[in-house]
Subunit: 104 residues, 2 copies
DNA sequence: CTATCTTATTAGAATATTCTAATATATAAA
DNA sequence: TTTATATATTAGAATATTCTAATAAGATAG
């Protein structure tokens, strides 16, 4: 069913941007405020906010306000399992290609 | 290390297109010729060939000729593990949203 | 209220992706 | 060899994505 491939691709599109992957990795085991994410990534507030909006729209993350701040967390922790498998594939690929794997 | 997120994102970009996901799913447990892929997907030859080239460049698939035909297969079967986890996440998301899940 | 801190939204230029149509290339068959 | 079959490549219009800069909006503190 082609529709399912469309939805699947749409979800994967979230993972096709380095900044979003960095955010997801930061959220892997704890929720984090937008401010914290900005500090950790050193990226602009607008940019982080935009990427969070994209992931929220795809329901990859959810948000909740705590006083002054808004905290984001993963909707489904399985996302991290997929993240880590892709990292393994990437690692094995780099190994084969004789690349520097030290930094993994 | 930001470079790693870039490579990770680049690999995930392969999964962010419905046609490429369909091809990967067809290759999940057996190699297949370009002609077979065209038949199964009902898509144009040029288009299939272009998507295969993209995946070959990312070393997600590899090809080998057998007589008249060129067969493609997955480089690393772990790709399918990631594929299936994302499908689960998608399925759970659709379930929550009260969507039709029958067709999964 | 008013100011401040935090987060979201908008606009738009630069860049990237996708598909179709046309053409090229490679192997095999006649 | 020519011809047919299988696959790849190219060009280009249509569309989508990404980032920066500017502005808006929501919550709290004073």
């Amino acid at each position: 069913m082609k529709e399912l491939y469309r939805l699947h691709a749409e979800m994967c599109k979230v993972f096709s941007n380095p900044t979003r992957l960095e955010i997801l990795n930061l959220l892997r085991d704890k929720e984090m405020s937008v401010t914290e994410l900005i500090e950790k990534t050193k990226l602009s507030q607008a940019n982080i906010s935009q990427h969070l909006a994209i992931m929220k729209y795809q329901v990859i993350v959810t948000s909740n306000r705590k006083g002054k701040n808004i905290y984001y967390k993963l909707t489904n922790p399985k996302i991290i399992k997929a993240f880590d498998i892709i990292r393994e594939v990437l690692s094995e690929k780099l190994k084969k290609n004789g690349n520097i794997v030290k930094n993994l």
